[in-house]
Symmetry: C2
């Protein structure tokens, strides 16, 4: 029982209405890994540079995240810098330095090849495919993507979709791939492109889950204190996958619960910059929000 | 048991990606009245001009909508004309002709003054207040508003809010009144401005209900065939209020159910231009979507 996650590991400089952090722990794989580790063991595959703080690697490791697949390369860590509008509705990328990410070729440790749950978190689709080729018949393959790849590498994004079981994407990405504003139609169309399950993330508006036999939608857990939305989508996916791996149950009902757990874990992530809040979340915290969420959406 | 609704009655010319209608039945009170009439008896207060088709008045009347409060004035009916962007995300008003609406002074028939449920649908806030003054201790007063009044008559909108029990508004309006993008905070703030219950409508993303003791959020019923969103919010409010009146139960749990019924009735409204689909909705149709909605959002 463990989840293999491949994706970016980064140091982020982020400014929001509530403050600013410099070179804080970030990256899709980092957020997803922290989230999944709340439920199960995690194998992380990525690359960091010489400037990546050793105590951060230690902290990840202490959470049960296996870093045998994390390459330490010469040079600097991938760095993203962005600023959010006062109302959090827009974000502007100020700077992207690929650094060690530019020449990254993910290599799975031999004993990771038979990982049962594989999450291709946001990263160049060619790298997602390269990881997939190194695995041996995983039970479930998940992917995420981003607008950048949909615009610049549409064919490779489609190739990834053809090869996964579960596709996560946000509403804008779903609309861009499917060329429709109508998310219900977009979800259905995505099901014809490869994935057996499609999860569309709508940020503050919740998430939708589509499969051949099921359609589920849930609002997001109501966040009281929004500090930094960076990584919320990755955290959501990590929580979803971690819960699925923990329970080993792929029934429609359990996929629905996984979505709610993803939403709840993401609600913690956005309450701080970087992964700060995720560091201190306890199983009790999660259970409390799960129960509260149930009370919030129940009506019959 | 009956709901008094005051608001605009209109003839609309609307164009969407799916087609176009001219001088079709419209107006906030019309949509809300049609929706409420699916659950209870309705008293409609508004004004129409000489061009208002007599068969439309007859059709409303045949649905159990009492038109004793509808004034037939010399001149033309209020006319709104608008066009929606191809993806339905924006709408542009092409023309607004107030016509008989310009000098409208709502007058309640004497035997309507003791109406227990009063809905001040979208209309100039001064007219909403004028209607309220004619009522005698209603059990529940509901209001809706629109950005036009929030921008042009903010003080009067606040005066309306101070005098109602339940305020409906859409997300943009809530943000404008409360000067925050954060809808959870906006809902709470609105509770301090008069209403005991606040319902924020988020269109395709559902709706939120706030009271001192309760917070509820529901996604919208998934619409498969979006034809014309005009009147969806009015329909939602009408369905909500009609269901409350039908059941006479103001418990938090029943308010939640009312919101779901509102959402379901609105899902029918947008499947056609004008009120066409609402004309043919049966109790069985509503029950079917209510059950399906429950299955869509259930996860435990």
């Amino acid at each position: 029982m463990s989840v293999l996650i491949v994706g970016s590991m980064a140091l982020d400089t982020v400014e929001t209405a509530t403050g600013r952090v410099e070179n804080a722990l970030g990256g899709a794989a980092t957020f997803a890994g922290m989230a999944a580790a709340l439920f199960t063991r995690v194998r992380l595959c990525g690359v960091v540079g010489e400037d990546f703080p050793p105590h951060e690697l230690e902290a990840l490791s202490n959470r049960g995240i296996d870093l045998a697949g994390v390459e330490r390369a010469a040079g600097k860590t991938f760095h993203w810098s962005g600023v959010y509008s006062h109302d959090f509705t827009h974000r502007e990328t100020l700077d992207t330095q690929l650094n060690v990410f530019e020449h990254f070729h993910p290599k799975l440790p031999d004993d990771w090849r038979d990982s049962e749950y594989v999450f291709l978190a946001n990263i160049h689709p060619a790298l997602q495919l390269a990881v997939l080729e190194q695995t041996k018949r995983p039970r479930l393959v998940f992917c995420d993507t981003m607008n950048l790849w949909i615009d610049s590498q549409p064919e490779q994004v489609l190739e990834v979709l053809r090869n996964v079981d579960v596709a996560f994407m946000n509403d804008e990405e779903a609309r861009a791939i499917c060329n429709t504003h109508h998310l219900v139609l977009a979800g259905r169309k995505l099901l014809t492109m490869g994935p057996k399950i499609v999860v569309i993330k709508k940020g503050e508006h919740g998430a939708m889950l589509f499969s051949q036999d099921d359609y589920f939608v849930a609002p997001s857990y109501p966040v009281e204190m929004l500090v930094d939305p960076t990584g919320a989508g990755d955290t959501f996916a990590g929580g979803f996958i971690g819960y699925l791996d923990q329970t080993g149950n792929h029934s429609p009902q359990n996929l629905r619960r996984a979505l709610v757990y993803g939403s709840i874990v993401a609600s913690f992530a956005v309450e701080s910059f970087s992964v700060e809040r995720l560091r201190s979340v306890t199983p009790g915290d999660i259970a409390e929000r799960y129960d509260r969420f149930r009370r919030i959406i129940e009506y019959h």
